[in-house]
């Protein structure tokens, strides 16, 4: 158990963008919201998964919608409280803990606002160990946890409480309701017991995000190699070094899809790497051959700074280092690969873990 204050959130937001693998929404707004809540209500108590009693009632909290809308229509502030109250009424029990559903991007910091306002502890864990674009894409789905009952709240006072037959239906309904609410909503879903939390969530990811942010900051201050520091911490591999040569984006079925082409420099000179994305990076293709894919993390970092770069920021001329890091082992089951593997996103290839593709020799 430890206390998290305003200043800790600076590092956390940077680290969350690393785990966001190009997507996950703008962590700046999430950071400000959490800082405001902490300023008003005091520091947040962060507890480890092991400290949560088995009979605890844990409800993840998040923001859903279009990242481009979230930076414009800012929240009222109490949406999530109303969503929580609605769920409590429905469940007939008080919620004891909240947790992040997505450690990557905006939603790593969203639950801090909830925890500060409700004065409940935040569990150091999340449901992905990264960011993914759809609601059903969380590790609790693999353990049979239902996304519903789910509450969605907007700033006007509207609340939707939904129950669905499976978690893909939850994604469908919630997406439509979110658009009606103005393309942003605060959501509470995946009601978990403490026991379910322990078996189905990815532990330690909030602390990890904070640590990654601190590593980048401190390594840069010491003029060290921030990319290497991240690789060491995440046991990852250098996939490619180069310069962004082309970025194409399009909207398809409500997602930002596209690809970035990177021309190699130094050891990768003469080669070319294409990264395809759907909000988050999906696959990395070197000279026509897939070299990394979901659910492993494909992360684009500034070559000199080690700062994470989101797909919205990808731009001609950036010098980048692309790294790949292993996903949480829960994703590496058949059910996990079916849910978030390359085939779900339309790539007809078998998932090969990044360690097998690169091996110990490729790690520098």
């Amino acid at each position: 158990m430890r206390q998290v204050d305003e200043t800790d959130l600076e590092d956390l937001a940077v680290g969350a963008a690393v785990l966001g693998t190009g997507g996950g929404g703008n962590p700046y707004i999430g950071k400000l919201l959490a800082q405001q809540a902490i300023r008003a209500h005091g520091p947040v108590t962060l507890v480890d998964v092991g400290e949560v009693p088995d009979d605890a009632l844990v409800v993840p909290s998040a923001m859903m919608g279009a990242p481009t809308v979230m930076v414009e229509k800012l929240p009222r502030g109490d949406e999530i409280i109303r969503a929580f109250k609605t769920l409590e009424e429905y469940l007939g029990r008080p919620i004891t803990h909240t947790v992040s559903i997505e450690a990557g991007g905006l939603n790593s910091t969203t639950p801090f606002g909830v925890a500060a306002q409700m004065k409940i502890p935040l569990v150091d864990a999340d449901g992905m160990g990264r960011a993914f674009p759809e609601i059903q894409m969380v590790t609790p789905t693999l353990f049979g946890v239902s996304a519903t009952p789910m509450a969605l709240a907007d700033e006007k006072g509207n609340i939707a409480l939904i129950a669905t037959i499976d978690n893909r239906w939850t994604e469908r309904f919630a997406r439509s309701i979110t658009v009606d609410m103005g393309a942003t909503a605060m959501i509470a879903l995946y009601v978990l017991s403490g026991k379910q939390l322990k078996e189905s969530m990815v532990p330690g990811t909030i602390g990890l995000a904070q640590e990654l942010g601190r590593l980048i900051r401190e390594t840069r201050a010491a003029h060290g190699d921030a990319v290497q520091a991240i690789l060491d911490r995440l046991r990852g591999y250098r996939v490619f070094e180069g310069k962004i040569a082309d970025v194409q984006r399009r909207t398809e079925a409500g997602f930002a899809k596209g690809e970035a082409r990177i021309d190699g420099v130094e050891g990768d000179a003469g080669a070319s790497l294409v990264i395809r994305f759907q909000n988050e990076h999906l696959v990395a293709i070197r000279d026509g051959e897939i070299v990394a894919s979901v659910p492993d993390l494909i992360i684009v970092l500034g070559a000199e700074t080690g700062e994470p770069i989101t797909t919205e920021e990808l731009r001609y001329g950036f010098r980048v280092t692309v790294i790949a890091t292993p996903c949480d082992p829960k994703w590496r089951t058949k059910a996990g690969i079916d849910l978030v593997g390359p085939r779900y996103f339309g790539y007809d290839i078998d998932y090969v873990p990044v360690e097998e593709r690169f091996g110990a020799a490729a790690r520098r």
């Binding site: 700046y28 707004i29 400000l32 919201l33 405001q36 809540a37 919608g65 279009a66 990242p67 481009t68 809308v69 930076v71 414009e72 229509k73 800012l74 929240p75 009222r76 502030g77 606002g113 700033e155 006007k156 006072g157 997406r175 658009v179 103005g182 393309a183 310069k243 040569a245 984006r249 399009r250 909207t251 079925a253 409500g254 997602f255 930002a256 021309d263 909000n279 919205e312 920021e313 731009r315 001609y316 001329g317 010098r319």
Partner: protein, 522 residues
Amino acid sequence: MRIGIDVGGTNTDAVLMDGRKVIAEVKTPTTADVTSGVVTALRNLVGEQRAKPGHVQAVMIGTTHFTNAVVEAKRLMPTAAVRLGLPATQALPPMVDWPERLRKALGGHVYLCHGGHEFDGRHISELDPGELRRAAEDIGSKGIRSVAISSVFSPVNNEFEEEAGKLLESELPGVMISLSHEIGRIGLLERENATIMNACLRDLAVHIVDAFHGALAEVGIEAPVYLSQNDGTLMSVDYAQRYPVATFASGPTNSMRGAAFLSGCLDCAVVDVGGTTSDVGVLQHGFPREASIAVEIGEVRTNFRMPDVFSFGLGGGSLVREDGELEIGPESVGYELTSKALCFGGDTLTATDIAVAGGLADIADRSRVAGLSPDLVKRSLQMMEDRIAQAVDRMKTSAGAIPIVVVGGGSILIRDSLPGASELVKPEHFAVANAIGAAIAQVGGEVDRIFSLDKKSRDETLEEAKREAAEKAVAAGASPGTVHVVDVEEVPLSYLPSNATRIRVKAVGELELEAESVATGR
């Protein structure tokens, strides 16, 4: 004939131009009051007897006044920030991410009111005139004379900002209103921040414009005055008094545009080597490429149109040291170069000394650097060249070699070629490229909005956006026949099923010098 002036941190540069010809150039130190430096520069230009004041048709000024006022938190007026968006947005009120020092300088007067739009144009809530009147009453009772109004999604629909502005103007006669949709892009906090900065500079803008007019009157010039904006276009003084923030970062823009003009390269990298730092930017169709990430001014996040410039610590005054490892910069003797550098009789080894010893420049006393080890000189020159080449490479958009134009007083550090340069150009008048950039600036118009592609085709939508941008350029004073579109950018918006896309179009044209009534609004 036209006069271009660039008021920088160290020097005030001015040029007199006849068409495309530079007739005279002067460099004088920037003065604390700024105006007297401008008067000196103007007197020197006219004093050279090459032009009668009456022949000057226009004066273009680039200035750092407004940026410095915000950075120093000085001469800012008390400002009210009115945001329309309730019940949304309360969690992060206006100025939430400002440093305390700057918020205090403005008084921290914040009003959250109803209004605002959804991404698709629906109203979040209706405007509440009673609520706005109560805000006006409070603003009036505090004696605040400048108000920034921001409404959620106003870049998509500006009706609420316009209505609220009119209401406040009628309640508070003489109040100065700044509307966010006229200043920034999507991103409420950043746009609002820029609008509040604009509002707090309004008094200073009136004062500075008066001072410039006074300076011109002193030397007998009656021509209209324009200020340079950060995108390389001009604005009339009337416009500048309403939108002073548009001057932010016009310095690097002017120097890049001047470099393009002097060299004739419209697509190239520009390296501006100063005394302490070098700036590298990229020109596309003769205009600086813009930065896409948030830009901080005085520690406040904004989303201005800003040139994408990479600055690094290498200039003519950079210290050269070898203590085990060779190091050049970032420390610099700066403006003390002519007293501290070895070749000027000082005791400090600088980048300029290396250039002189290496035979790149023939300034000061070469014999004073004759004792430097040829190996050190060779390695230092190589290191400087490598760093500049790396900086250019970082900014380039394609792998191929591109033309590189070098301007600024520190240009002597660079030899006749650089790796990655298809050609290296050191144009004439390189030391006053920034003032030339001010003199030749064009006028522009921009559209940046979210469009839905469900009802209209993409081509129709793009045409609509281009037409609107061109109309805005003409309204800003461009000669209609010269207006053309220089930039089109599309960003599809994720998660929105309605195939919404954000389109940015920029059009520019030559300033219509003959029709001043159009250009200046007088």
